[in-house]
Assembly symmetry: D2
Homo-oligomer: 343 residues x 4
């Protein structure tokens, strides 16, 4: 059993972490913080957790947190980077579900996130927590930058093609669709049921913060610059991301289905579906799986890859638990083995 703290337990990423951690056999939750809800019972705010937790929200406090073996930051961007050094110095491991440590280049980070980085010196030791790419580094890491939701879906979909150099990486397109929980639990008009249901829209077409994160990952895989057009959309459902990926094939004769299957054959949480399949987001609702399918319509040179995840699980809290399992030597799938909730 390890002692676990969650900083920022009132958002969707936070409560999803709690859902997974309260039944994880190796975890004892000891601290859950929230400035706004200080003093109220966690299970009062989230009745789904009644009977699982009798903690109250506390104000974030370094002393209390330093008694944990690991602390998850499920906070808005800009918080974790201010508190990480103190905790790391006390020997606490950290998984940051915000974007603070995802981008290696602090200037690039500042440009997209609109503030200076508070501890650029940590960026190099932070490990980007995509286990399918960085498993060994994650095992040894003290600080893991948990990937964004879109970046998880898009990278897992493109990686086999990019890594093998089979497509023109100067012209990749990722048309991604997210459920509304991606917008968070903060009160905002745009995420009201009456605004976001029975409607569909693109947003941030001129530029979304996940663009540089995805490019960084794909460039590392390909070893060369990547040109990516990334268009996110809001779709009227709670959970799920569907990324539809387009790439131009530059090499003939590849058996793409075999490539994908073999590329991910040892991965518990990436499921390459049979040829011709169309994965549905609901097939991963509440689960940590990424389901992929690869298509070559009419045998042309435009490939279409379909990639689905639950944005709150493989796209956030589930991947964080997967990373925690790796960091502590637990079985990688522990606490993540329930099938999706269907229907």
């Amino acid at each position: 059993m390890i002692k676990v703290g969650v900083v920022g337990g009132t958002g969707y990423t936070g409560v999803e972490l709690l859902r997974l951690l309260v039944v994880h056999p190796q975890v004892e939750l000891t601290v859950i913080t929230s400035r706004g809800e200080q003093g109220s019972a966690v299970a009062e705010l989230f009745p789904s957790l009644r009977g699982y937790l009798d903690l109250e929200f506390t104000v974030p406090d370094e002393n209390a947190l330093s008694s944990c073996d690991i602390v998850f930051f499920a906070t808005p961007n800009g918080i974790a980077m201010k508190q990480a050094v103190g905790l790391l110095d006390k020997g606490v491991k950290i998984i940051d579900l915000s974007a603070d440590f995802r981008i290696k280049d602090d200037q690039l980070w500042s440009k997209w996130y609109g503030q200076s980085h508070a501890c650029p010196e940590l960026l190099n030791q932070a490990v980007y927590g995509l286990p399918e790419v960085n498993r060994d580094a994650i095992k040894a890491a003290r600080l893991v930058a948990n990937p964004g939701c879109y970046p998880t879906a898009v990278q897992l979909g493109f990686l086999p093609l990019v890594k093998k150099g089979l497509v023109d990486t100067s012209k990749l397109i990722a048309d991604a669709k997210s459920g509304v929980s991606g917008a968070g639990r903060g009160a905002s008009v745009g995420a009201l049921l009456c605004e976001a249901s029975e409607s569909f829209k693109a947003y941030a077409v001129p530029g979304h913060r996940h663009l540089p994160e995805i490019k960084q990952g794909l460039e590392q895989a390909s070893g060369s610059p990547v040109g990516l057009t990334f268009v996110p959309h809001l779709t009227p459902m709670i959970r799920g991301i569907h990324a539809t990926l387009y790439a131009t094939l530059t090499s003939a004769g590849e058996d793409l289905q075999a490539l994908y299957t073999s590329f991910y054959q040892d991965e518990s949480f990436v499921d390459v579906m049979p040829a011709g399949a169309h994965p549905e987001t609901r097939s991963v609702k509440g689960s940590n799986v990424c389901r992929l399918a690869v298509h070559q319509p009419q045998g042309g040179d435009t490939l279409v890859v379909l990639s689905v995840i639950d944005n709150l699980v493989k796209g956030a809290a589930g991947q964080a638990v997967q990373n925690m399992n790796l960091m502590f030597g637990f079985p990688e799938a522990q606490g993540l083995d329930a099938p999706a909730l269907m229907p």
Copy 2:
């Protein structure tokens, strides 16, 4: 480990059973039947189960089923009553999730279900599988009639009042609202997204088959005839039942909150919320819990009880697993301990 068969594995009740059983530590699924899907892989029809099951659907066959320790019937009404005798004779235990064995009076059953009962002789030994009422009998049962979804929510809500004789049982009202999964997975115009979403309606106001089942349960609890008006409604969501129950108080001075709390204090799957609470169906989505709240608006004599369940879990498959656990001496909550999926 016990060997488990599921007859009728293609409906929502069936696939929900599979979701729970594939990760139940005491269960080995050995037979899953479906006439329509014979020969196809279960995980092909339900990709959420990929990696959990490599069975194919088979045609129902008594020999194959008789090698099981227990068989669940997740079939339309009228099937289980024809196959039960043969299996019971071979020592197989049965939990029937259809309505075949719920009503003790076969004439009453025939009236509401429009066919003669195929084995009225089994009705007496069938145990009505509401653990909060019949736990001991279930432990000893060979044949359990798993309650309907509405009857579970309505009975658990009314039982403390009726059992204690605090209300006028000649004028009970149950205004119940169900998600669309209650209508099943069969193709029907009325359950299409375009018909059932963005709309709300009552149905079967002249009489619904769950009425006699609820009355039977409440009459057994009260020991006298019960007058019940039961109005079901279809609400535009997948899972969940919310029963709003009305009763006239006949006895002054009761502490109703204390009554409910104490009545259910030993029950793992009934959660009485604090005074003034309004349980939401999503707080039990995917979980086996029934959440209750009791209100006495403006201190008048009309009581309002709010009762929520997930119709596919506590209202069907979860309760069936709870019953299985009791029948085989497993911990009652085994395999049912995950929190609700929220949001």
Copy 3:
């Protein structure tokens, strides 16, 4: 053509008024106010109105509004009562869609709305704008209090029974379900898609502000005190109210279907459905119609009346336009004649 102003044009009631008024053949919209959106184009906030309106939001100003023939208040409670006198003095007619003038007893109003009434002297001349009850008074009114959404659905459903004295009015029950647009367009966590979709709950069971409004209307119809239990619920859809009404019949032998049909035979916006029908809220989506059905389950003495409206139309903006038509001698259905949007 009359000149029309709308005070508070940014909420759902306001934008619904605009939807109806921009195509009303007798209406010229001249002023639309909003403190928060001052200076921005109305059609920028609501692109559905692009091409219909080139007004900008302005700060509420008595001079500008006094050039209108009529002003609609689509404001939070407590605004209209402060501005009404000034406008009425300048000969401007007013329809208030908030609750300020609905309750005749200013003490009762204060109790439920938590503030003193700013102009109790206007309460007597304010006409409660339910045309089916007060048509002649509305025609002559200078100030109309537009009914609440629940009160419209509940009163239209109960009125025939109560007016004819056929039921026990000491024990009426109204179990009402509303779409989320009833919660307004303000940013609130509870109305987020991720909180309010895929869930169902009751709220305000101890007491809701529409209770005294409904009681006042029913008591006026019956001529005696009314006991009402009113339980509102939130249902996961945008528009629509479904009221399920329960009453105990005190008089045998009535042909209730005939009673309802004849009671509403001259009403354009109340549609009594055939015996046995179950009206769906979607059958009135976007339309000003209230659809009713009356049931007597199993021939017992508990009656069940089903009443559906679109909360934003017959429950708010549509009824306001109907009242405007009456006040200015236009055909009562003018601008309100489009069928519901189905599906």
Copy 4:
């Protein structure tokens, strides 16, 4: 007033036609056919039409239909092509909302629709009913092939670029998302609320029937072959199509915003939004408008065009009414002037 018949009045396209036609000032509906619903009142099947229509469904009959001035076919593919000749010979005009007359090449049609064409000789005189392209020909037409829903959204979005020769037409991508009403009103498991809500998926990636229709239109506009990757998706809502279009700019220095604005400046039903906008499908719910926005992310050479329509209106019934207006010399927007239903 013209006499209008609708063949196939029970699907979503059919009932949407009825919604528009019952309040069209120049239309008298005289015949509505359905084999399945023969003899039942139209308003019984669709209560939203109660009070607007007292017709019954009749069996399709050439004599009855030949008394109409125009007949709409809202039938499955393969029906209209068998009945068109007879009606045209009797002087009846036809608008076919199915796909029978959309493709000029009958061999290509056969390949995609899986049957021989019943009257290829009519293909040349059939006018493709996209008014923004073929307005004059539609005015003179006897037989109009009403465009598909996806083809309407995609063509209107690409046309300015393709017509002006500004993009590489060998590599166009259309990533399109449709509400579930596009799947029709037939009972099917895939369109059940419990299957299609809270989920998102692509379908028909290997090839969708609207692909050749879109290519034909774009090739006619560009005067040269077009390479198009078209990926349709199902999104959990009732109405709406959002097409996200990708093209590679081949010509520098164009003011694309100005191009789009001027290209559609005389069109009542195409609304080019301001630079930087993201049109939402709900902004056209129930309306005949197509809203467009054009983006050039990060100033690169990949253009992104966003195009939204209501699939049942501009994508089907509304465009059909627009075509009828043109064919009979009515104002083009008559009966189509209501704003979208929002929210």
